[in-house]
């Protein structure tokens, strides 16, 4: 589905991603863990070209993406991103947030777009909040609207960047539940999270990053129960 080869990214002098190799299969749920500043978020941002990588290759559905030549807007339509801080559009209601890109990017009729948006809000269990503005929603509700907004585009893959890190503890679960139901439906996901429960239960593969590199990769059982690298053990002992 998506293939990443020898990806490198620099911020000035800082080498944030070092030779990242990763292959994501359709329907796979991959969880990336690692200490903050290890390059997890940057990796996600590179995959949807919010940051342009400096060297390496990204292949999506058998096509090599050239950020200079290809229409990145088209690429981004199929690579959804959920942000840590939701980034809902505050001047639009929940349902308008979901319908916005359907109408203006996919050029759906308004009626059709709102119908789809309604279905998606139902899916994230927020139908009764459809006409509320983001400022009237809780953090958990906002994040679920943000997920619905991405789902509306029917992306091939969803990049989810610390979806629960800015939420109060009691709101985390509703977002994780939403993500679990998506995973069960076969949505391809690349998730950066510190929710080890979610990783253990839902991930097909767990990737451990440190210092801009992938240091270990394996099934949740392998990573959590029998980590090979000292650095992984150290990180897990801090977080669990």
């Amino acid at each position: 589905m998506m293939k990443i080869k020898k990806l490198n990214k620099f911020f000035g002098e800082l080498h944030v991603l070092k030779d990242i190799d990763l292959e994501i299969k359709r329907g796979e749920v991959i969880v990336i863990i690692g200490a903050s500043g290890c390059g997890k978020s940057t990796l996600l941002r590179c995959l949807n070209f919010l940051e342009i990588f400096d060297s390496g290759e990204i292949w999506i559905k058998g096509e090599k993406i050239d950020p200079k030549k290809d229409n990145l807007n088209k690429v981004r339509e199929n690579v959804g991103m959920v942000f840590q801080r939701f980034n809902l559009f505050p001047h639009k209601t929940a349902i308008e947030n979901v319908a916005e890109a359907l109408i203006h990017v996919k050029k759906y009729e308004k009626e059709e777009a709102f119908k789809i948006a309604k279905k998606l809000l139902e899916k994230v269990k927020l139908l009764e909040r459809a006409n509320n503005y983001p400022s009237q929603l809780s953090g958990g509700e906002m994040q679920r609207v943000a997920i619905a907004r991405v789902l509306a585009m029917k992306p091939d893959i969803m990049l989810i960047d610390e979806p629960t890190s800015s939420l109060d503890p009691e709101l985390i679960d509703e977002v994780l539940q939403t993500m679990k139901s998506l995973a069960n439906e076969g949505v391809t996901m690349l998730v950066v999270t510190h929710e080890m429960g979610f990783a253990r239960e839902m991930a097909d593969r767990v990737i451990v990053m440190d210092g801009g590199k992938i240091i270990e990769e394996g099934s949740p059982d392998e990573i959590f129960d029998r980590p090979e690298k000292e650095r992984t053990r150290e990180f897990l002992s801090k977080i669990l």
Binding site: F83, N87, E100, Y133
Partner: protein, 182 residues
């Protein structure tokens, strides 16, 4: 507004043009600009006092308004643009649908402020023989010798205009706030 995109754009030439425009206009007094438009460019084009005044005032206020919009646009969280782009929107679509509506709302208070300043600054056009409120006031004062009374009345007229305008701006602001109900 156009200047605004020039200023924010990465294109160095456009950026530079705007930089010069802002530097020159904000760096020189309005009265000088009005005089240049009326007396200064007669060799190129002769403007009536009215049009000279209009040209000078619009170019002058345009510079300040450009900066107000720039500030408002830059005050919108970067995440808004990122979220819009990540949904496949082009830069201009994201600007039009997501950033500008929010920025415009934020720019209303300083914009209202600038209009009030502009309204009062417009009295300077009297010095190129245009009979606006201030010009007429000066005339009456000279002819009737009731200097204090006339100027107080003129001042009151400006005050009423400004108060009326501020009231209007407040209304607009309230109205837009209802949209988002904090």
């Amino acid at each position: 507004m156009i200047c605004n995109f020039f200023r924010l754009s990465k294109n160095k030439i456009l950026n530079y043009i705007t930089y010069i425009y802002l530097a020159v206009i904000r760096g020189t007094p309005l009265i000088v600009q009005i005089f240049i438009f009326y007396y200064g460019i007669v060799n190129i084009i002769v403007l009536s006092p009215f049009w000279a005044g209009v040209a000078a005032l619009s170019i002058h206020n345009g510079a300040y308004i450009t900066e107000i919009f720039r500030g408002a646009i830059q005050s919108i969280d970067r995440g808004q643009m990122e979220a819009a782009r990540s949904l496949g929107m082009t830069y201009f679509l994201a600007m039009r649908r997501i950033i500008l509506p929010q920025a415009f709302k934020r720019s209303i208070p300083p914009l209202g402020n600038q209009f009030i300043i502009g309204l009062k600054d417009s009295s300077l056009v009297a010095y190129v023989t245009l009979m606006d409120l201030w010009g007429t006031g000066m005339n009456i004062a000279y002819n009737s010798f009731k200097v204090l009374e006339t100027y107080i009345v003129v001042g009151l007229y400006y005050l009423v205009l400004v108060l009326f305008f501020s009231y209007f701006v407040n209304k607009v602001e309230k109205k837009l706030e209802v949209d988002i109900k904090k």
